[in-house]
């Protein structure tokens, strides 16, 4: 089974990945085939496993104390643009242009 163009486009929108070329799509195809092997195992009546450690994988509970924060300057060093200690972002999500308007090899598939 091949992955349809609709699914590929949907994935590009959701995850903002760019399959770029045929090789990229084939790599995806192979990854799906590899993962699909899991379907061959009969898991009827078996609870999904959270970890190989099973019940030894314990969730650590932290006390409700203030131990972090107050590092505005450091955090803002990562910002390309800032305004008075706020991060600056575009006005809203910039939608990925429609398939027809993009230079992607998916066009023409």
């Amino acid at each position: 089974q091949k992955v349809s163009v609709e699914v590929l486009e949907h994935l590009e929108h959701l995850a903002l990945v760019d399959f770029r070329d045929l090789e990229g799509v084939e790599r995806l195809q192979k990854a799906i085939q590899f993962a699909d092997q899991l379907q061959e195992v009969n898991t009827d009546g078996v609870e999904p496993m959270d970890s190989v450690l099973e019940d030894r994988w314990c969730l650590y509970l932290r006390e409700d104390d203030v131990t972090e924060g107050n590092c505005t300057k450091e955090l803002l060093e990562n910002a390309r643009e800032k305004v008075e200690e706020y991060f600056v972002a575009p006005p809203g999500n910039i939608p990925l242009p429609k398939l027809e308007e993009r230079e992607t090899f998916l066009q023409g598939s």
């Binding site: 509970l61 932290r62 409700d64 104390d65 972090e68 924060g69 990562n78 575009p90 999500n93």
Partner: protein, 463 residues
Amino acid sequence: LAPWVPVVGLEIHAQISSNSKLFSGSQVQFAAPPNSLVSFFDASLPGTLPVLNRRCVEAAVMTGLALNCSINKKSLFDRKHYFYADLPAGYQITQQRVPIAVNGSLSYSLCIDSKMSQMVTKTVRIKQIQLEQDSGKSLHDDTRSQTLVDLNRAGVGLMEVVMEPDMCCGEEAAAAVRELQLILQTLGSSQAVMAEGQLRVDANVSVHHPGEPYGVRTEVKNINSIRFLAKAIDYEIQRQIEELENGGTILNETRAFDSKLGCTVPMRDKEGKQDYRFMPEPNLPPLILYDAKSLPANMNHQQVINIDWIHERLPDLPSVKRKKLVEQYGILPEHSFTLLNEDGLAEFFENVLKRTQMKPKRVIGWILNDLLSYLKQHSLPVKDSPVSSFLLADLLNLLEKKEISSTAAKQVLAELWKGEGKTPLEIVKEQKLELLQDQKELEQICQAVIDGQENEVIMMVLG
């Protein structure tokens, strides 16, 4: 024209009252300098991991128990993916597969008539309560076409309470949310102040004809007060009815409530149906809770949360407090409802009772009719009342001992309200409001009145 049945469900997000965030040690505080309460994890810097805050789990368990839920002894964390500037990780950690509490109920009261003399009790089912992260805050600067992002709120713990569509109108939804607010405040699990964003409500609204399947529902957001909640829902119900009666259809969309115009409008930036690509949170194992029976023998108890221990320490919920007030003082259910509806009023009432011989049934009139109406007229909370419980008790004692009349008492209260520091006794003496007890003196006054009004007396005697 066939009747319409409106159906209303609610999704409520309550900010957990805690010192630090759900998965990190940065502080939880309203109104702090932008990006000052942000840890590396909150900013989603690589290499950081979530660490669960015990207090947040306890808050969710308390709330679940207070809402009659089954607490899941094993619950799971998941990632919900979407892109937005105030969600630095690109996903929110939530509980989509197995939340911490399920299948509860909330009972609330409604007045049948506007005079508040008859109340009915209704119930709404609670589908579930889940723990999840709050996002940061976006400030839209339309003039410069940019968004300013403050991550102080990013990662704060939330309890999402999902109410089944058992309500039918704005009034019911408002009453249910008000009761939830009181419960949360009593538990202390959330301060639930809507104005500060600690309680956010989204409404799901649809209409259908009796006997037919449910109609398409819309989601209404951006509701900032309980009053607006009722308005938004009632508007949306009407809008849908009118649309359908005119042959139109309802779109499954998200709409925002515009409080200035009093209507709902479609929200921009909502592209079709979202695919959140839910996946288990790989960095967090299942959350295991215990009870008295399943308590492990040799575990460090700081790492153990015992549901029964929490249950035993739950405070009296509002419904229980109301019942106790009615039983203890013989007041009406409507009275105890109002007492609990105003912050501090029940305490004020009980403080007055401690200092006066006057019967509770009489005192309640002064609290609800006189004191409360003064407070409402001046938009004052009980804690800012210029008339303290001591002063009111002193006044009521004068009345009880028949040293002043009821009318005089109202006059004294009006004077006390000015907050000039005078005691009721001082005001009574100043304005000469004492009731005359002396029989002879009273006779003399009456005689003088009669003597001064001879004509009228003759008319009265003649009939």
